[in-house]
Amino acid sequence: MLSVSITRRGLGAAIAFVAGVSLLVDSLVIDSSAQAATALLNVSYDPTRELYKAINPAFIADWKAKTGETIEIQASHAGSGAQARAVIDGLSADVVTLALAADIDAIVSKTGKVAADWQKKLPNNASPYTSTIVFLVRKGNPKKIKNWDDLAKPGVAVVTPNPKTSGGARWNYLGAWGYGLEKFKGDEAKTKDFVKAIYKNAPVLDTGARGSTITFAQRGLGDVLIAWENEAFLASEEFGKDKFEIVVPPVSVLAEPPVAVVDGNVDAKGTRKVAEAYLNFLYTPAAQAIIAKNYYRPAHPEFAAKEDLKRLPKLQLFTVDQIFGGWAKAQKTHFADGGVFDDIQKQ
């Protein structure tokens, strides 16, 4: 349809345009290649964005003071399970700071890039901070949600991410399950019905914890968000304390997000020393104070500011080891293909 012979002027203009664009691109690209410092890649889960944004400059300054080296820290955040998958597929993380031990175990078993005894290499089961699972409800708590029981009641719309892809979602699920076991005196069948009733109230499962927070807080869906404690605080701070209330159940799960050096990658890149220093830095007084400031529970509360600690409520916490016999077992029983969660999802 468009067939006329080209004019010299038109061709010239086109060439000039392309040349101009490529010059612009060149200048922008050269600008980026000017940096050549050692870079450390921290592959982390969804809600730690703000935490590591605060910790990284502190570590960079600390490392510079100790060694004189200027380093750069790169961050990648997404759902914990998806991030583990990316590291398995070759994302060259120097350290992983994920939501739960099972995701780092997956890297161990699929690639061997992380040492099998990784959880013994750092204090506190390699968790420099812990957290727990709480509820975020709309102001005035119109559905009167006080405890896990209230999530299973008919007519309550629950927002929680998908345990298949999100680490936080698995903690949410185990929190409900652990509460159920306590309430029904260890009766597995009754507990399963109870957890099933909660998920019946949760028709939409986002892929990551932050996605669920956006669904609840920004898009206004649901009566209650089951969330990381830090995520609940952050959302109520971000969207205004007049809009939401945090409800702390009397009993919940102690969530231990672990960290590990990815040995296979740091040895290839020659970054082991700085990667190990980075993870050790998380246990120092300076980092522990930042951790508490960002609404996580520090491994060493003595280093945190008192007013930061005061915000974190006291509640009865059970661990995955106590109730489920460790993450490997919990993962296999509940979240593997054909596990209890799949069974619950079948209507």
Partner: protein, 292 residues
């Protein structure tokens, strides 16, 4: 006299047959305009108003962020690599398909269309499965220190994949319609193959080529799904503009998210503008040729 009137009458009659009643016409125009307004103009307006809710200062501050600048640089770099490659591939493919016949031609046409029918997420996953460290070529590549996925090469490959059909699809019908007569004439007159391409074929297809390039460019800069799978989401390194928009939105940074999104929307508008301008200039050329 009646002979002279006959064509006019015939034209009038034809008009009456094809022209709808005024009510139908207005209804159709109304539906089209309302649909466009609701599904195209309104979201576009929302992007710009959301970006400016906190004033021009906050809007422009977005572009001072190192991560945002890195995303813009990466997006431009990817487009600068992908679009020229696609133009060359597209011309080659269209040439092969339209100018001569060979066995397996219909297979080639189907293959060119493949990226249109495959979900972008799958296109991304394919590269992870081939180049990932658990994949087909991954172990060999990584033993030589070559990183494809979760780095810029992977993003470029995924973008090439999803934009491949744009130039070829634009050119194939055009070149088929034009046939090989003009090229044959040039060759008969003693022009070399390359000269024939430059002075006969290229001028014939330039508007189709330009249109294909513009479309490919818009898609290359705006692609989300395939790039998201192979990106690794490293801040300031492997996030393109669409990925950075999602990150900012998920960090409750709504103004910056929409400011960056407005850049993409602006880009689309500029693309549209260039296309319209060129068509307008091209129309002028035709008129000029007719006068002579």
């Amino acid at each position: 006299m009646s002979d002279a009137l006959a064509p006019a009458i015939r034209i009038a009659a034809t008009r009456r047959v094809t022209e709808e009643a005024p009510l139908t016409r207005y209804l159709l125009i109304g539906v089209a305009v309302a649909f466009l307004g609701l599904f195209l103009l309104l979201p576009l307006a929302v992007v710009f108003t959301e970006a400016l809710t906190k004033g021009a200062g906050a809007f422009f501050a977005t572009f001072d962020e190192p991560d945002a600048r890195a995303a813009i640089r990466l997006t431009l770099l990817v487009a600068a690599i992908v679009v020229p490659l696609n133009a060359v591939f597209g011309i080659c493919a269209a040439w092969a398909i339209s100018k001569f016949s060979f066995p397996g031609k219909s297979v080639l046409i189907t293959l060119i269309d493949l990226p249109f029918s495959v979900s972008p997420v799958v296109s991304g996953l394919v590269y992870v499965l081939v180049f990932g460290s658990q994949g087909l070529l991954g172990p060999t590549l990584s033993s030589h220190g070559i990183q494809i996925v979760f780095a810029i090469p992977g993003i470029v490959l995924a973008t090439i994949f999803v934009t491949f059909p744009f130039v070829a699809r634009e050119l194939i019908p055009l070149m088929q319609e034009q046939g090989t007569v003009e090229e044959e004439a040039a060759l008969t007159l003693g022009a070399s193959g390359f000269r024939t391409f430059l002075t006969v074929t290229l001028p014939n297809i330039k508007w189709g080529l330009l249109y294909g390039v513009l479309l490919a460019n818009a898609r290359a800069m705006g692609e989300f799904g395939a790039v998201s799978v192979v990106s690794g989401h490293i801040r300031g390194l492997t996030n393109t503009i669409p990925l950075q928009v999602e990150i900012l939105y998920n960090e409750y940074n709504i103004v910056s998210a929409f400011a960056l999104a407005s850049l993409l929307a602006g880009l689309a508008l500029v693309t549209l503008g260039i296309k319209t301008l060129l068509e307008w200039r091209y129309a002028g050329q035709i008129a000029g040729r007719r006068r002579h």
